[in-house]
Symmetry: C2
DNA sequence: GATCTATATTCCTTAAGAAGAATGTAGTAA
DNA sequence: TTACTACATTCTTCTTAAGGAATATAGATC
């Protein structure tokens, strides 16, 4: 069942944090590293786990891999409902709030690669 | 985090079916056996898993163990939201609908022990 | 006390998952 | 070509989990 796979993705804190951040828009691996402050392997493997189960998509942009949630119209009902649910549940959580705060700071210094490129932002954003 | 434990409970189909049935009210192990058509060990162990993580409560009534969701006011926000979410997600699923149908049939022949007792129902309900 | 019933626990096997170290790779820059 | 950057994969170790067979236990019945 598809639903089970969603729950499997949701039962690890690192993955919850990744998904939570992705709800704000696409990001590349180095952004996650900076925000979560976790080693690259760990981030990369969890993103792979999410990708295998269809919860995120990946696309390359130069050296960067851009991860994103599937486009709205492609999200299953189960995914949509559970993402909303997740957001409710972690709204007051310190870790998740800090992640969001860091994301906002990051956005000022360095937008996601897609956007950064469009803006002609500095190359070495990560 | 408490939320993770909830998701851990939700990522097995058997446990989803158990929780889904419990949303209709308390049940004992033999009821689950009949409805899910799964061996006793399996049911019992999954109920134990749920109990350890606080998603269900257990109380003895004679030979029977009655399992139930925690009373409404004792359910965490996370649990409440996720149970509602689960109910939405499986509403159209054949397996879960069949479980509900069987539960209703079961109720006619043999109410949960608590109720059965109160009604003076036949002893050997399981 | 002996037996039966409903349920739990233990033991075993197998598989999946998490984490880190080391290494590989695709694309960029010089 | 060489070197660098961002990321992925492989290998190993450890832990958790699932399922079934066999056995144990608590309470009811005789």
């Amino acid at each position: 069942m598809k639903l089970i796979q969603i729950y499997q993705c949701l039962c690890d804190e690192t993955r919850l944090r990744l998904l939570h951040l992705l709800m704000q828009g696409p990001l590349c691996v180095c952004h996650f590293q900076g925000i979560l402050n976790e080693p690259q392997v760990k981030i990369s493997k969890h993103l792979g786990y999410l990708k295998t189960r269809g919860l995120v998509t990946a696309s390359r942009s130069g050296n960067w891999m851009i991860y994103a949630l599937p486009p709205q119209q492609k999200r299953s009902v189960e995914l949509r409902v559970n993402l909303a649910c997740l957001q409710d549940c972690v709204a007051d959580n310190a870790v998740f709030k800090r992640d969001l705060a860091r994301l906002k700071k990051l956005d000022l210094a360095c937008a996601p690669a897609q956007i950064a490129k469009a803006r002609g932002a500095v190359r070495k954003c990560c």
